[in-house]
């Protein structure tokens, strides 16, 4: 998060959105600053609804959305400062990539000449220079994803809303998109990236907003979120040559809450007292001749944080 930020770029103040009796998002409170923020949650969590609220495509049923210091609903001028890449695969298949992005630039207020120039630059930046004159309908899924991103950045917006931007991308396209997002964040833009795949977001940022069943579970740095879940057991994975021997000794210690064997040569310990448990394990291994190859904490992975936070909220609450 940028230290230069004075006012949050996005403020959600008790925002709710209902579709009839269905809750899209429920009482969302969040401040999002410049830089890249990952919006995480499983499919149907409310991520896309929240992004639509942030770009004024939906009117909140309750609460207020403030974007770049102004209310977004009905604020046409503000849309010139927002770039949006939708999740779905809809594109103007009969237009070429250059025509598509140029039209979008012109609808953002650019004149014809600068729109075409900027469209070309945006396509170049996404690695689509050679395909710019081909109909978008002939693009691969990854190329379509990139042309969608090109139209989102063509007018140099301050706030970028990317809904599942890595969907369908091959590794090369994925690397290009991740680099683009990181570059935009470093350039001081506010980039909100939604995803239901946690490691995708990890490659872009540590700032996350966890959303589940329309509610924000947690926001902030992944390590700060980890502090919020202290009541949950901390996980320690021990890769060693004799995990069962180590387990039989470790279970006698009061700091160990639960044990499992994720692999033949690995032991997963859950503890509520990691400060005691971390020194205990090497000592027990030394005493009983167990060779430890690696001692890691899966909790530093966003997936673990997400699992923890959603575990008690429904049987299918965990992404992936």
């Amino acid at each position: 998060m940028s230290a230069a930020s004075t006012t949050p770029a996005v403020v959600c103040d008790h925002v709710s959105k209902w579709y009839g009796r269905i809750v899209g998002v429920n009482d969302i409170n969040a401040n999002i600053n410049a830089g890249v923020t990952g919006l995480l949650g499983p499919n149907g969590a409310g991520k896309s609804t929240l992004l639509r609220l942030l770009r004024g495509a939906l009117r909140p049923s309750k609460g207020k959305v403030t974007v770049l210091g102004e209310g977004i609903w009905g604020n046409r001028a503000l849309l010139a400062r927002i770039g949006h890449c939708p999740e779905h695969d809809g594109v103007y298949g009969d237009l070429s990539g250059l025509e598509f992005v140029t039209v979008m630039a012109r609808l953002s207020g650019m004149d014809a000449a600068s729109a075409e120039k900027r469209a070309g630059e945006a396509l170049d930046r996404l690695g689509l220079a050679d395909a710019r004159h081909r109909p978008v309908g002939q693009y691969s899924k990854g190329m379509r994803q990139r042309v969608k991103l090109a139209q989102a950045i063509v007018h140099d917006p301050e706030l970028l809303l990317f809904d599942e931007p890595l969907t369908g991308c091959d590794p090369v396209a994925r690397a290009a998109v991740v680099k683009l997002i990181r570059d935009l964040g470093r350039a001081g833009k506010t980039v909100i990236v939604s995803s239901h795949i946690l490691h995708e977001v990890e490659s872009m940022t540590e700032e996350i907003l966890l959303i589940y069943k329309g509610q924000v579970l947690a926001e902030g740095n992944v390590y700060r979120i980890r502090e919020m879940i202290d009541e949950h057991p901390h996980q320690i994975r021990v890769d060693c040559d004799n995990p069962r021997a180590l387990a039989s000794e470790a279970v006698r210690d009061g700091s160990v809450h639960a044990l499992s064997f994720p692999a033949d040569d690995a032991l997963l310990i859950e503890t509520r007292d990691p400060d005691s448990c971390y020194p205990l394990l090497p000592r027990l291994a030394l005493e009983h001749g167990v060779k430890i190859r690696a001692l890691t904490s899966p909790d530093n992975n966003l997936q673990a944080v997400f699992d923890y936070l959603t575990r008690d909220r429904g049987p299918k609450g965990v992404a992936q």
Binding site: A57, I82, D89, G109
Partner: protein
């Protein structure tokens, strides 16, 4: 970046430029989707019929006067209904609406642009078709009935103007199968009311268009509700333009305020 500070060098696009851009986009896409080839194919049928009528000695102005009401009451509405699917509904079905509404444009400019985009081409194609019908069925007598041709062209133009607005409105209201919805409306409301004897005829735009073409023949011998209304051409033109404006305003207001479904965007 401090919020509230605008860094983009762009300015908001004017409503006129947005309408023009959307009209151009709509035209380009319709051309590439071969929509106009379909329209031209349909519009070639009446001139061929006119030629056949001429060859079988049934042509002339009589045939022309039979064909023109078919244009304004059935053919033009059908062609416009075909283009209704190319309106807002097309953006919703193609999931491209979100791109447009994410731009700093007035939402009402979308149906307005679609209307402008479809109108010019439709008028040119339909007028050309009517002229061909005239030439075909008049044969060597071309030159006679120029007045009828002029009135017919005026009626055809007005029909395109009116049913184009209806098509845009249906394209905004009904995002699935707007063609069918509009065709049902035309048949069950406009055509049906035009067939009922009496004052209800005034509600049928098709009757007013036939009147503009100089071909309205009211049955006035009957009394009361069953007597057809007398309609001046000026009144018919005024009613058609007024109703057209109402359709357009409703379509634009609806698009401006309607929250299209989440999956639409």
């Amino acid at each position: 970046m401090a919020a509230g500070k605008q860094t983009t060098a762009t300015r908001l696009p004017s409503a006129g430029s947005v309408v023009a851009l959307i009209a151009a986009l709509s035209l380009k896409r319709a051309r590439r989707a071969n929509l106009y080839k379909v329209l031209i194919g349909v519009l070639c049928v009446p001139p061929l019929a006119g030629l056949l009528a001429l060859l079988s000695d049934r042509g002339g102005l009589v045939f022309f006067d039979i064909v023109v009401p078919v244009y304004v009451r059935y053919l033009v509405p059908t062609l416009m209904a075909l283009q209704a699917a190319n309106s807002v509904a097309d953006e919703v079905q193609g999931k491209t609406l979100g791109y447009l509404f994410a731009r700093p444009i007035a939402r009402w400019a979308l149906p307005a642009g679609k209307y402008v985009g479809m109108l010019g081409v439709s008028i040119v194609l339909c007028a050309a078709s009517v002229v061909l019908v005239y030439l075909a069925c008049m044969g060597s007598q071309v030159g006679g009935g120029f007045g009828a041709l002029g009135r017919s062209l005026a009626a055809i133009t007005l029909a395109c103007v009116h049913f184009g607005a209806v098509a845009v409105a249906f394209g905004a209201f009904v995002v699935t199968y707007p063609f069918v919805a509009m065709l049902l409306y035309v048949l069950l409301v406009d055509v049906a009311l035009g067939l009922i004897p009496g004052g209800l005829k005034v509600v049928s735009m098709g009757i007013h268009l036939v009147n503009v073409a100089g071909l309205y023949q009211p049955v006035t011998q009957k009394l009361g509700w069953s007597a057809d209304p007398q309609l001046g051409v000026g009144l018919s033109v005024g009613i058609v333009l007024g109703v057209t404006l109402a359709w357009l305003v409703i379509a634009m207001a609806f698009t401006q305020s309607h929250e299209y479904r989440v999956s639409d965007q």
